[in-house]
C-alpha cells in the first residue's frame, strides 16, 4: 500500500507543471505540498491561443486518496476544456450580454478558456454529485498584449494583488459558488487591468488555516504581511518565503492540509 501511495504521489506530482510558458515581463512560481502522500489541491499554468496564459489554483473538499481521484478528474476536465474547441459553450456564451460587453475588450479568447469552469461544473453535477465532493477554484487568463486579467473565482480564497510601485492592494473575491455544488451555474468572468509591478498571489486554505500548537491560525493577515515585506523578491523567492513562514508558524505541528501557492509577478519595467 505504501508503495502504491508513493507511485500515486509521483503520478499526481506529474500533473503539476514544473516549467511554465515564457511570457515577456512575467515571472511565475508555483508549488503544491500535500499533507499526506497525495492531496486534493492543484495548480496549473496553461498556454492558450494568442499568447494568453491561464493560471489556476484549486482545492478539493477532502484530503488523501478520495481527494486525489477527484482532483485528477477535475484537473483533466479543466485543462481539456480549456484547450479544445468549445462550440457548445461559445454558442451559449455568444447569446449572453456578458460576452457582448466583454468582446469590446477583446477577451473572447479568455472567455473560451474560462468556459471550461462551466463545462466542468456541468459534468461533475451530472455524473458525480452523489459524492458530495466539490472544489473551489480561482482561474484567470492573462493577456500579455493588454495586461488584462479575466478571471472566475468559484468560491475560492481570494487571491491577493499588490502593486510594488503604488502600494495599492486588493483581493480578487469570489464571483460565484464552488464547482460541483449546484447545476446550471454560468460562472461569469470578471476583468482586472494589471500594471507593471503587480504581484498576484494565489493560495489555498492550507496556507491561511495552518495552525500552531496554540490553535492559532496563520490567517490572511500574516500572508499579507509576508507579501508586503518581500514585494521586491522574485516570484520564486516570495513563494518559498511564504512556505517557510507557514512552516515556522506551525513550529512542529504536523501540516494538516495541502498547501498550494502560485505567484505571478509583472516586472516593474515590463
Amino acid at each position: 500500500m505504501e508503495q502504491e501511495l508513493e507511485i500515486a504521489h509521483q503520478i499526481q506530482q506529474s500533473f503539476l507543471p514544473k516549467t511554465f510558458p515564457q511570457v515577456p515581463g512575467i515571472e511565475i512560481a508555483a508549488g503544491m505540498w500535500p499533507a499526506r502522500e497525495v492531496g486534493g489541491d492543484f495548480y496549473d499554468v496553461i498556454p492558450l491561443s494568442g499568447g494568453r496564459v491561464g493560471m489556476l489554483v484549486a482545492d478539493v473538499s477532502d484530503k488523501g486518496v478520495p481527494a486525489a481521484l477527484y482532483m485528477s478528474l477535475a484537473r483533466t476536465l479543466l485543462r481539456a476544456h480549456s484547450l479544445s474547441a468549445r462550440p457548445r459553450y461559445l454558442s451559449d456564451a455568444l447569446e449572453s450580454a456578458q460576452v457582448r460587453r466583454l468582446m469590446h475588450t477583446g477577451s473572447l479568447g479568455a472567455l473560451a478558456a474560462l468556459g471550461s469552469v462551466q463545462l466542468t461544473n456541468d459534468y461533475l453535477i451530472d455524473n458525480h454529485s452523489e459524492t458530495s465532493m466539490f472544489l473551489t477554484l480561482f482561474y484567470a487568463v492573462y493577456d500579455p498584449q493588454s495586461r488584462l486579467l479575466t478571471y472566475v473565482n468559484a468560491g475560492h480564497n481570494p487571491p491577493f494583488l499588490l502593486n510594488a510601485l503604488t502600494g495599492t492592494e486588493d483581493w480578487l473575491r469570489p464571483t460565484d459558488m464552488a464547482i460541483g455544488l449546484m447545476p446550471g451555474r454560468a460562472y461569469e468572468a470578471q476583468e482586472r487591468q494589471l500594471s507593471p509591478g503587480d504581484t498576484l498571489v494565489l493560495y489555498t486554505d492550507g496556507v491561511t488555516e495552518a495552525h500552531n500548537i496554540h490553535h492559532e491560525m496563520f490567517e490572511e493577515e500574516r500572508l499579507v504581511e509576508t507579501i508586503r515585506a518581500h514585494s521586491a523578491a522574485s516570484a520564486k523567492e516570495l513563494m518559498e518565503t511564504i512556505k517557510a513562514e507557514v512552516i515556522t508558524f506551525e513550529s512542529g505541528v504536523p501540516q494538516s492540509d495541502d498547501i498550494t501557492l502560485l505567484v505571478w509577478k509583472l516586472e516593474v519595467g515590463s
Binding site: 473538499s61 477532502d62 453535477i125 454529485s129 475560492h156 480564497n157 481570494p158 455544488l181 446550471g184 494538516s256
Partner: protein, 137 residues
Amino acid sequence: MEITVSYEFGLAPVTVFCLKGALDSTSYQQLQTQAEQAHTAGTRNLVLDLTEVTYISSAGLRALQHVFNLLRTSAPSESNAAMAQGLRDGTFKSPHLKLLNPSPAVLEVLKTAGFDMFLEIHHDLSEYRIKNAVATF
C-alpha cells in the same frame, strides 16, 4: 463535536441538531452519520443550530453538502433544472436544510464557497430562535 438532537413541530416536523465545537476533518463524519440516522428514522427537515460552532473547514462544508443531498427529494421543484433556474432568479433555497446563527468567521467561510446561495441562514439569538427557525418550514 457535541451534537444535541431535538424534535420540533411547526407546520411540518423538523429535527434540530445543536452543534458544539469545530466542524472540521475530525468531526464532519459524525455530523454525516447522525444526519443519515435521523433520515433513516424519518427526518425530512433539519435545522443546524451553529450558535456554538467555533470553526468550519472545507470538510465541514462537505458534510453540509452531504446533508443537503441526503434531504433533497425528487419533487419537481428540486430537479436540477428547477434549482438552476431558481438560483438564477434568487428564489431557490433548500426547503429541507436551514442553518441558524453561524458566527461571523463561520459565515465568512459559508459565503466564500457560496453555500449562502442555496441554504437559508437565520440570525436569531432570542430564546425563541429554534421555534422561529422551525416555523419557516
